[in-house]
Subunit: 200 residues, 2 copies
C-alpha cells in the first residue's frame, strides 16, 4: 500500500511520465526466503506488459527452480504476453550447445556474464533476472567493477533484477531498488525440511 508520494522531486528535467518509464536495477538480497521468488513474481508483470523476459540462473542446484521455469515457459508459449528465455549454468548455458558435461563453474559464470553483457548491449530483452548472481560476484568469478558499470550504463529501457545473499556494496550503491528479505521464522528452525511445492 505505498501511496506513491516521492520524498523529493529530482531536478533531472524529466516529466513524471518519463520517470515512470526509467528502467530499474533491483537487488533482492538477505538471508530470508523470497529473493528469487519475488523476481519471478515481477516477471509476471513484465510478461503481462508484453516484454521479452530472460532468466539467467547463475548457480547450479540439484533442484533448480523447475516449477518457476515450467510456469514462465508455459506463459511464454501462450503468446499472450512477452516471450520467455531461460538459461542455466551448470548444465551448460543454452546458447552453448554442449549440455551435461562437467565444467569449471568460474569459467561458466564468466561466460554467462559475457552473454548478459552482449544481451544488454543489443537490448535483447526488457526484463532480466540474474538469479543468484551475487555469488559469482562474491566469489570473484566475475569482475565487480565490470558488472556494476555494465548494469549502470545499460542502454534503453531494460529492467534488471539481481538476486542472492550478501549483495556487493557497489551493486547495492548502483541499484535503484534494494530489498533485504529478512528471515523471521523458517520451518527448518522447527526441524522441518524443505516443503514440496513450496520450496521446489
Amino acid at each position: 500500500m505505498p501511496q506513491g508520494k516521492p520524498d523529493t522531486v529530482p531536478d533531472d528535467g524529466l516529466t513524471t511520465r518519463e520517470r515512470r518509464r526509467q528502467p530499474v536495477l533491483a537487488v533482492h538480497t538477505g538471508q530470508g526466503k523470497g529473493k528469487s521468488t519475488a523476481a519471478f513474481g515481477m516477471a509476471l508483470r513484465a510478461w503481462s506488459a508484453g516484454w521479452p523476459i530472460v532468466v539467467y540462473q547463475f548457480v547450479k542446484s540439484p533442484k533448480w527452480k523447475v516449477g518457476e521455469e515450467a510456469a514462465l515457459r508455459a506463459l511464454g508459449r501462450t503468446g499472450e504476453g512477452g516471450a520467455v528465455t531461460w538459461h542455466k549454468m551448470g548444465e551448460g548455458w543454452s546458447w552453448i550447445q554442449r549440455p551435461g558435461t562437467e565444467r569449471d563453474h568460474a569459467a561458466e559464470a564468466a561466460e554467462g556474464w559475457a552473454q548478459v553483457k552482449r544481451d544488454l548491449a543489443a537490448e535483447a530483452y526488457r526484463f532480466y533476472v540474474l538469479d543468484e548472481f551475487t555469488y559469482p560476484m562474491k566469489w570473484g568469478w566475475v569482475d565487480v567493477a565490470d558488472v556494476v558499470a555494465a548494469l549502470r550504463d545499460r542502454p534503453g529501457s531494460q529492467h534488471v533484477v539481481v538476486t542472492g545473499r550478501e549483495a556487493h556494496p557497489d551493486l547495492v550503491a548502483a541499484a535503484d531498488l534494494v530489498t533485504d528479505m529478512t528471515k523471521v521464522k523458517h520451518p527448518m528452525d522447527a526441524g522441518r525440511k524443505g516443503q514440496q511445492g513450496i520450496e521446489w
Copy 2:
C-alpha cells in the same frame, strides 16, 4: 542456497517425507517491496505442482495487480498445471454477483474472510494467497483470534500465504515461515514514482 539441514529433528513421529508434505502457513510482511510479488512467485510452483490456487485480494486498489492477475489466469487457462481462481474485494467479491457498487469495506472484508473459512473447511484449494490480509486484521475488520484459529486448524494439506505490513504478532506466532521484506533503497527515495511494468 539453503542446504536443507534442520537445526533440530522434531519428536513428532513423522518421517521426513511426511514432514515435507506438511502444509505451510507463510507470512510476508515488512515495509519493503516483494511481499505480494513473492507470494505470486510461489504460486508459480504451486501451479506447476498441479495444485488448485486461489488469490483473495483484501484491499481495494486503484491499480490492483493486473499484471499478476492476467499472468496467473493465463497459466490457469493453459490446463497444464493447477486451476487459478482470483477474488477481489472492493469491486465485489466474485462469488457475490453484484460488482461495481460502492460498499462498506469492513463488511466486505468480513465476507471475504467468511468465504476463506468455507474454502478451507471444504479443502477447496491447495494454495491460498490472502493478499494484504494483514490490514483487515489490523483494522479490526476481522477477528484476529478467529483468523489464527481457522488458519492453524485448517484440515488437509492446504498452504496459505498472508501478505501485508505489520502482521499481527499472533499470526506471526502461528506461522511456519515468516519473512520481513526490509526496504534498503527505493526509487521513490530519489523522487521517482512507481515504474510501469515494475510496480503495476
